[in-house]
Symmetry: C2
């Protein structure tokens, strides 16, 4: 393991993932543990880190982390920095844990047109990893529990917007009347034809609080099978997210910008289908964006030096 | 109790309420029990009815019910009738329980502009009770778990639209990240100033899946107190419902129609505030709309006769 130059950790709410990188930013190995911030009790973060790293703990190399570990409920608070945020902005705002175990990337905040704040913590690092040297104007989309849409210009995060799409999908099926007539979908199953029907509904204008009710009424009317409800609802919510976020990108002057999707394969597949239905061309980013972002930020902060880095 | 002419029952999912009416449609007494359709096991509806009515069971008068008791999960299925629905349409579609214990009002269905079905069961009867002889064009709003907006012309229900506002409010606070930073509100408490702020956000255009996130970010930024989150969220959802439903009423040609609010006082108060903020004049309907509606339908079905009815 003597070729290790950096330990990089994506430390979220429910789980943590560690990467071992060489002096050119290449991922040599990775490890994960269900030791998210909410699973660590009484502030025992040092012990959690030792468990996560295992024999990597003995390596005398810099360690950098992003995610909820830097929140008020985490190990050390790394206060939000405000948009626009360049890579260098993140690098100079790193915060070190009390015992020097780890440096932590700050979260990012911005305000929308109505002056309502928005926040991210962890995604700024994925975005840093997803930026490309040639990016002039790009839209980077990170689908998930709280989808993030970011407007990127060169190495700069200009603005972003959060959509609670994934969390809405989960709670609507688990805790509302819409779940009563639904047969749950197998995790990661590819979308069936009801997904496209839902996307079409989502891409159209409408009131979400009304449109959702279709997940019940279509079944009552015999127009939708109980097994198809999760796909229809997923399509509706993703379609509506795309409709609304495109408007947001338009107001930000990012019409026609490259749209880059980053995330787990099954979810990115769904979004790619929905984007195709909306006639928007997308490219897929690399899945290891968090590790790449941590490497880039560590370079900018001069935590790693020497060699000819693969990444800038 | 010899002046009793009709027993009228509003029999919903979680509770049932019985009214004793005289020969002019006046409510003489009412009783309720937590014997909603979901609480009755093994089809023991006759026993539940006896418990609800108590000594009223001995009265030899017609009995009529509305609500989920007429659903597939209820005592007897009273199939949906399609809009437009006149009072007489409901009267001729009554269904009788197998042992003749009760006649049941059917639910109503309609299709929206995208041909997605909508349904109500119980609200059609409240609407029947809320109609006024002079109504030419009116909008009747029944706020609640599933708010219903109805376009009414004379004695006819022309179309309606459901908004899952109340259910969204509950599950968002109870089961999503938005509840984590919120201090629960006292039931029925009057709205504080954050309600108006939320309504303003709701009346503006925006993506619900994004706007909701403000219930978290405003607290993180110190712009909203944890105690004010429920009011802000309630305002946002009610404001958005009003914005969307006005558009629906507009497309239906009901601009400028009287808007009549029917429901429990605390909720109607909130909606009245939000309507005032949207510059829409509203009138309040009487709270006993279900009993009045059941009386009117019973009259049209000739279940009650004679005397000079107070209600037509």
């Amino acid at each position: 393991m003597s070729d290790t130059a950096l330990l990089a950790i994506d430390w979220g709410t429910t789980s943590a993932r560690a990467y071992r990188l060489d002096g050119r930013g290449k991922v040599l190995a990775e490890r994960s543990a269900p030791l998210g911030v909410l699973a660590v009790r009484d502030g025992a973060f040092a012990a959690a880190l030792a468990t996560l790293l295992g024999d990597w703990s003995a390596l005398r190399v810099p360690r950098i982390a992003c995610g909820m570990i830097g929140s008020r409920q985490g190990w050390v608070e790394a206060p939000y920095v405000a948009c626009p945020v360049a890579l260098d902005t993140l690098a100079v705002a790193l915060v070190t844990t009390p015992g020097d175990e780890l440096v932590v990337v700050p979260g990012v905040t911005c305000r929308d047109a109505a002056d309502i704040p928005d926040v991210m913590r962890g995604e700024e690092t994925q975005l840093a990893g997803a930026m490309k040297p040639g990016d002039d104007r790009a839209i980077v989309v990170l689908p998930g529990t709280h989808s993030k849409w970011a407007r990127v210009e060169g190495n700069k995060l200009v603005a972003f917007s959060t959509f609670m799409t994934g969390e809405l999908y989960s709670v609507l099926l688990a805790h509302t009347i819409l779940g009563r007539l639904a047969v749950p979908a197998a995790a990661g199953a590819p979308p069936g034809p009801a997904f496209a029907t839902g996307v079409a509904r989502g891409l159209a204008s409408g009131a979400v609080a009304h449109d959702l009710f279709g997940a019940r009424t279509l079944v009552l009317a015999g127009d939708l099978a109980p097994e198809a409800v999760p796909d229809w609802l997923s399509g509706l919510l993703i379609g509506r997210e795309i409709r609304a976020a495109r408007l947001w990108a338009h107001h930000g002057g990012h019409d026609g910008a490259v749209v880059r999707l980053i995330g787990a394969d099954a979810l990115v597949d769904r979004y790619a289908l929905a984007f195709a239905q909306a006639d928007v061309a997308v490219e897929r980013g690399r899945a290891d964006a968090a590790a790449r972002g941590l490497w880039r930020i560590a370079r900018r902060a001069h935590l790693v030096r020497g060699g000819t880095p693969v990444l800038q």
